[in-house]
Symmetry: C2
DNA sequence: CTGTTAGCGCTTTCAA
DNA sequence: TTGAAAGCGCTAACAG
C-alpha cells in the first residue's frame, strides 16, 4: 500500500536519475540518452506517476485554464459562445473555468478578481455598464471582452449591433412596414446599440420607433409584454425584439391573442438561436454567429496569453436570416 | 514599482508578525490579539495582498473547484443541468471546470483523468457504455455520475427513464393511438431505458412499437428522419422521440410534408426543454427536471467531498407535461 | 547529456 | 497567543 501518490522524486529514484532530468524529460523540454529515457518511462508506468498540476502551476505561473464569464448560460446565444470557445480551448490543451454571471451579479468584481488568480486569461461578457468596469483593465491577466466598448482600452470581440439593427429596420421598411416597435431590454449592454442602428435607419425614412422595455431578455418577458404592444392604442405592424428569446415568447402570445404572424404583424429578433427556425412561422433574425464569436474570442485570448500582438477590436459581421415571421412582399 | 505580487511573507514583515500567524488569521483558523489582527488587516490592505490559490492548493490538496463533464452543452437539457449545478457550486464557494465531452469523445478517459487532478470532485455524464467506464471508479476523486448504472458502484443522480417512457406510452395509448413509433438514438445511454419503459407499457396492451434510430439526438436528425416514419408503408399515428430536440426537428418537417400535428399524428419528446412550449403546436414531453438534476448532483458531490455519507442512487421523478402536440381526446 | 541546488508561496506541526 | 522551521511537488538556473 502506498502512502500517497508518487512524486517526481519517486520516479527519479526508481529510474536512478535526478528529479531535474525527470522534470525536463516529462515536459519534453529536453531529450536524453535512450537508456535514461527508457528508465524514466518504465518508472513512470510502474509507479503510475502523474505530475501534480498545482505544484507545477505554482512555479510556472501558468494554469492552462481560461476563465469564461457569461451572463446567462441557459440562453442558447451564450451556450453557443461557450461551445465555440470551449472547442478552441480544448484543441489547444486548455480547460475552461465557467462563471455564470447570473448567480452573483452584485459581486461580479470579487468573483472575477478571485478567478483571475486561477487562470491564464479570461473572456468576459458582462451586463455591467462601462463606467463600472474600469477594474477589468487592471485585473492582471490577459482579458478579452465580449461586446463593444467606447472608452475602455480592453481587447474586444463583438458583433456589430448597430449594423444588425439597421439591417432589420431596413428589411422591415422595404417590406412596407411603417409602424415599427422595438421590444428592448435596457438591462442588457447591447440594447442601446441595437436601438441606435434601428433609429438611424428609421430616422432617415422619417419613421417613428415606439420603444418598450423588458425586465430581462427572456421567453417569459416576451410573452408578458406582448399584449401591451399588440393591443395598445397604436397598432404596430412590426416588432423588433432585443433577442430571439423575447421574440419567441412574443410570437407565442401573439398567437394566443388570436393574431397571425406575419399577416397581422411581422416579428424579428437578434442572435439566430437554433430554435427560431422551428417555430411557426420561423423567426427572421440577425445571426450574430455566436459559436464563431466564442471561438474567435478564445483564439484572440490565447494569442494574448502567448504574448502575441492582437488587434484591439475584432468585429464579427452580422447576417440577416430571412424566415417566415416577416412578410416577403409588400402588404396590400 | 513592485517586483511582483506581495506574498504572505511581505504581509508578515509589514505587520511585524510571523507568516504562520498571517496564514492562520487569513484562513480564519485561529484568532489573535486585536493588535495583531489589526496590523495584519492593515498590511493586507496596504499591500493589496491576495493569497495565491495554487500554492494553497498544493499544500491542502483542495482546489475549491468541481469538474463537470457533459456530452453537449448546446443541448438545453444540459445547459440547464449546468445552470443548476453551477448555482449550487457558486453558493458554496466552488468554481466549475467544464468539459464538453463532444470535443474529444475518443479520449474522454484521458481528459477526465487529467481533470481529476485539478478538482475536488467531478460530475460526469457520458455516452460511454457502462463496460467502458470501470476506470471512473478508480479516478481517485469523489465522482457523481449523471444517469443510471446497472453494475458500476458509482453514486448516481438520474431521472427515471423507464418510468418516463411508460408515462408517454400510456398517455398515447389512452388517447387512442395504436400505431406508435419510437424515434430513438442508440448512441445515447438512456435510449435503451426509455425504449424499455415504452415497450413494457405497449406489450401489456398488445401493441407493437416500430423503432427508428437517429445518428445523434439533434434537431437536424429529427428533420432528416421524419419522412421515413411519416411517409413509410406503415402509417404511424404517434411518434415518441428520444428527446425534445429530435421532436422539434421532426415536427417542423411534418409540417413541411403537409401533415398536421396532432390531427394526423401525435408527437412527444423527453426533457422538457424551454423551447418545446413555443412551437406550434407546443410539445407534449416528459419533464426530467434538468435544473433540479444538476443542482442535486452538485449537492450530492459536495457532500461526498466533505466526506459525508450519501445514498448511492438518487432518482428524480419525471413528470408528464401535456401540450398541444398530442390529441386531448380520442380520435374519431 | 545529467545533476546540484535553490527556492515558488503557503500551511502545519511543534515549541515557546 | 505567537513563531520557527520543515517541507508540499515541482521547475529553473547553473554547473559539470
Amino acid at each position: 500500500m502506498k502512502k500517497s501518490a508518487p512524486t517526481i522524486r519517486d520516479v527519479a529514484a526508481a529510474a536512478q536519475v535526478s528529479t531535474a532530468t525527470v522534470s525536463k524529460y516529462i515536459n519534453g523540454a529536453q531529450r536524453f540518452s535512450s537508456r535514461v529515457e527508457a528508465a524514466i518511462d518504465a518508472a513512470v508506468v510502474r509507479l503510475g506517476y502523474k505530475s501534480n498540476p498545482m505544484a507545477k502551476s505554482m512555479i510556472t505561473g501558468r494554469t492552462d485554464t481560461i476563465g469564461l464569464c457569461l451572463p446567462d448560460i441557459a440562453n442558447p446565444h451564450f451556450s453557443c459562445i461557450l461551445q465555440g470557445a470551449g472547442k478552441v480551448a480544448a484543441e489547444r490543451g486548455y480547460s475552461v473555468l465557467l462563471v455564470d454571471g447570473a448567480h452573483a451579479p452584485d459581486r461580479e468584481r470579487r468573483t472575477l478578481e478571485a478567478l483571475s488568480r486561477r487562470v491564464d486569461g479570461m473572456i468576459v461578457c458582462s451586463r455591467l455598464g462601462e463606467a463600472d468596469m474600469g477594474w477589468m483593465a487592471d485585473i492582471g491577466k490577459p482579458l478579452v471582452f465580449l461586446g463593444s466598448l467606447a472608452e475602455l482600452p480592453l481587447p474586444t470581440v463583438a458583433g456589430d449591433d448597430h449594423a444588425g439593427g439597421g439591417m432589420l429596420a431596413r428589411h422591415l421598411q422595404m417590406l412596407g412596414h411603417r409602424r415599427i416597435a422595438y421590444l428592448g431590454c435596457s438591462a442588457s449592454r447591447r440594447d442601446a446599440q441595437r436601438i441606435g442602428g434601428i433609429r438611424a435607419c428609421l430616422d432617415a425614412a422619417g419613421l417613428e420607433l415606439a420603444v418598450f422595455d423588458a425586465d430581462s431578455p427572456s421567453l417569459a418577458e416576451g410573452e408578458r409584454l406582448c399584449s401591451s404592444l399588440v393591443l395598445g392604442s397604436r397598432r404596430h405592424d412590426a416588432v423588433i425584439c432585443y433577442n430571439d428569446l423575447l421574440a419567441l415568447g412574443f410570437m407565442k402570445e401573439v398567437a394566443n391573442l388570436g393574431l397571425a404572424i406575419p399577416r397581422d404583424l411581422s416579428v424579428v429578433g437578434f442572435d439566430n438561436i437554433p430554435y427560431g427556425k422551428y417555430t411557426t412561422p420561423a423567426l427572421t433574425t440577425v445571426d450574430l454567429q455566436s459559436r464563431h464569436m466564442g471561438a474567435t474570442a478564445m483564439d484572440k485570448l490565447l494569442a494574448l496569453v502567448r504574448g502575441e500582438p492582437v488587434e484591439r477590436c475584432t468585429r464579427i459581421a452580422p447576417r440577416l436570416v430571412l424566415r417566415g415571421s416577416t412578410r416577403h412582399q409588400h402588404p396590400g
